[in-house]
């Protein structure tokens, strides 16, 4: 299986099953689809009126050689089969430190922080038990991860501090390491908290949607009538500066209200933020801000415009890191890892303030998906198996999709909310992911120093 696409005249072919990426001139790009279907003489017959025969023969020879090397038209010898392990290896936990929030964001997946239940805070006791659960169930995995999440975790800072200290010591005793992350709306980022996060080297995700009017349409202060931009942007900037512009992401969400979201990305870049992610909102189709199928053409153009600006700024020495354009073509994970992106439900779980386990933060409060508790362990092994088996080889739409090994099958929560099954990915999400991947591959092609502009292949100057 191959996927060919073009970005601003640069013609690229991804060989899906090997992961190899090729840059092609016009003739090769034109002919490659027919290579698998037609013999050489039929190719010459079909294209002989358009291109010189000698050139067609050269292309045929090059494609043949790459096929023989296993980097074009590579067969997929993997089936996705793995040993069915009834006891999952948990390596990553998301702690809902707080089922409460000091903002009232309109699109909040947590229903303004409380997930549909009472506004509660996690005790340190339950947080420490969650750490023990993670370390006990991580088996031989040395590297584990723990995210402080919510609601707003800084509303319960004491528990964060205690769990962090406990986690570091407990992991060390077992010769393991825990990587800690904290996601925050930044409203409570004062100097003391900043110093704590920097001292402990916690990776931080800071929520800001972009331009003031865009942010303030969705991210509202209590009771939900005024925007939060003027409160949070200075705090985010101060925090980013305090850690020398490293080890964080500023993360925004785009909705139907800002289909021109590239302007929000550039706004964040103009504020000096180096690590940026702006991502599509997920919600019910009935929400007036939800993205729709009819928005896709505009969004595709917006990603193309964004990648142009991204490349331009990189060339001008004022580049930034955009989460969805990051792609490692050479040192990426193995094929078994790529079967499903996140491991939700068997490698990665969320913990509520009460100590209940769910496949991820998006499933919290949806009782059919409750996996167990940090005290009793995993009890709902059927759900674990369901999530473990929801990988790209078992999902019909993913099996035939060119993006499967870079996407990992999409977000299970998106699939469940859109289609009431994790076995069918969310179509709008798939289309956006494929567009982003094409842009990301294009960026890697440019970073490798190649550029094709309607003519012979040329090696342009490195852009970074």
């Amino acid at each position: 299986m191959i996927h060919k696409f073009e970005v601003d005249g640069t013609k690229i072919v991804l060989d899906v099953n090997s992961g190899a990426v090729h840059l092609m001139d016009e003739i090769a790009y034109d002919i490659i689809d027919d290579f698998a279907a037609l013999p050489e003489d039929k190719i010459l017959e079909k294209y002989g009126g358009q291109y010189p025969v000698s050139e067609i023969e050269e292309v045929w020879a090059e494609i043949s050689q790459l096929e023989a090397e296993g980097v074009l038209f590579c067969e997929d010898g993997f089936t996705g089969h793995r040993e069915n392990d009834q006891s999952p290896t948990v390596k990553s936990l998301c702690l809902n430190i707080s089922h409460d929030c000091n903002l009232r964001c309109r699109y909040c997946f947590a229903g303004s922080g409380h997930f549909g239940g009472a506004r509660t805070l996690m005790t340190a006791e339950i947080g420490k038990r969650a750490v023990d659960f993670l370390l006990e169930n991580s088996k031989e995995r040395r590297h584990c991860e723990l995210d402080f999440f919510g609601g707003e975790p800084l509303m319960n800072k004491k528990t964060v501090e205690e769990v962090l200290a406990y986690g570091k010591e407990a992991a060390s005793r077992r010769n393991k390491e825990i990587k800690f992350t904290l996601t925050t709306n930044a409203l409570l980022l004062n100097q003391e908290t900043t110093d704590f996060l920097n001292r402990e080297k916690i990776s931080v995700v800071l929520s800001l949607d972009g331009r003031p009017a865009v942010n303030d349409a969705m991210r509202l202060t209590i009771p939900g009538t005024k925007g939060s931009y003027d409160h949070i942007q200075p705090k985010i900037s101060s925090f980013v500066e305090s850690r020398n512009n490293e080890n964080y992401f500023v993360r925004g969400t785009y909705t139907r209200n800002n289909l021109d979201f590239s302007q929000d990305v550039l706004h964040l870049a103009d504020l000096g933020y180096k690590y940026i992610s702006v991502e599509p909102v997920v919600g019910s189709p009935d929400d007036d801000w939800a993205l729709r199928e009819c928005d896709l053409p505009a969004l595709f153009q917006e990603y193309e415009e964004l990648v142009r600006q991204y490349v331009r700024r990189m060339r001008e020495g004022c580049g930034f890191d955009f989460f969805h354009f990051n792609l490692d073509l050479n040192h990426g994970p193995c094929l078994p890892k790529r079967l499903s992106g996140c491991g939700a439900g068997y490698e990665y779980m969320a913990v509520t303030p009460e100590g209940d386990l769910f496949p991820c933060h998006q499933f919290v409060g949806k009782n059919r998906f409750k996996l167990g508790t940090v005290w009793d362990g995993i009890q709902n092994t059927a759900i674990v198996s369901e999530f473990r088996d929801a990988h790209v080889y078992n999902k019909t739409k993913c099996r035939e999709c060119w993006a499967k090994f870079h996407c990992g099958g999409g977000c299970h929560a998106n699939a469940e909310f859109a289609n009431s099954t994790i076995m069918e990915p969310y179509h709008v999400g798939c289309e956006l992911e494929k567009k982003r991947l094409e842009c990301a591959i294009y960026v890697q092609v440019l970073k490798a120093g190649y550029k094709e502009i309607n003519g012979p292949l040329a090696k342009a100057a490195d852009i970074c």
């Binding site: 099953n17 090997s18 992961g19 990426v21 090729h22 840059l23 092609m24 001139d25 292309v59 090059e62 050689q65 790459l66 090397e69 296993g70 590579c74 997929d76 010898g77 993997f78 390596k91 998301c94 995995r141 040395r142 590297h143 991860e145 992350t181 996601t183 995700v205 992401f249 992610s277 991502e279 989460f323 969805h324 990051n326 792609l327 490692d328 073509l329 040192h331 990426g332 994970p333 193995c334 094929l335 078994p336 890892k337 790529r338 992106g341 996140c342 491991g343 490698e347 933060h361 090994f405 870079h406 996407c407 990992g408 999409g410 977000c411 991947l437 990301a440 190649y450 012979p456 292949l457």
Partner: protein
């Protein structure tokens, strides 16, 4: 080659035999945690 330049020559199929150790970072398509998309993971081995 004249008509095709191979930008990256990897073969995922060869990673099946020794892969799957699970030491790499958790992946997510969303940066709500400082995760990576699976496509941007680096093998931790």
């Amino acid at each position: 080659m004249k008509h095709i330049k191979t930008v990256t020559k990897v073969n995922l199929q060869e990673t099946v035999k020794n892969g799957g150790c699970g030491e790499c970072q958790a992946s997510c398509q969303s940066a709500c945690k400082t995760s990576c998309t699976v496509g941007n993971q680096v093998c931790a081995k």
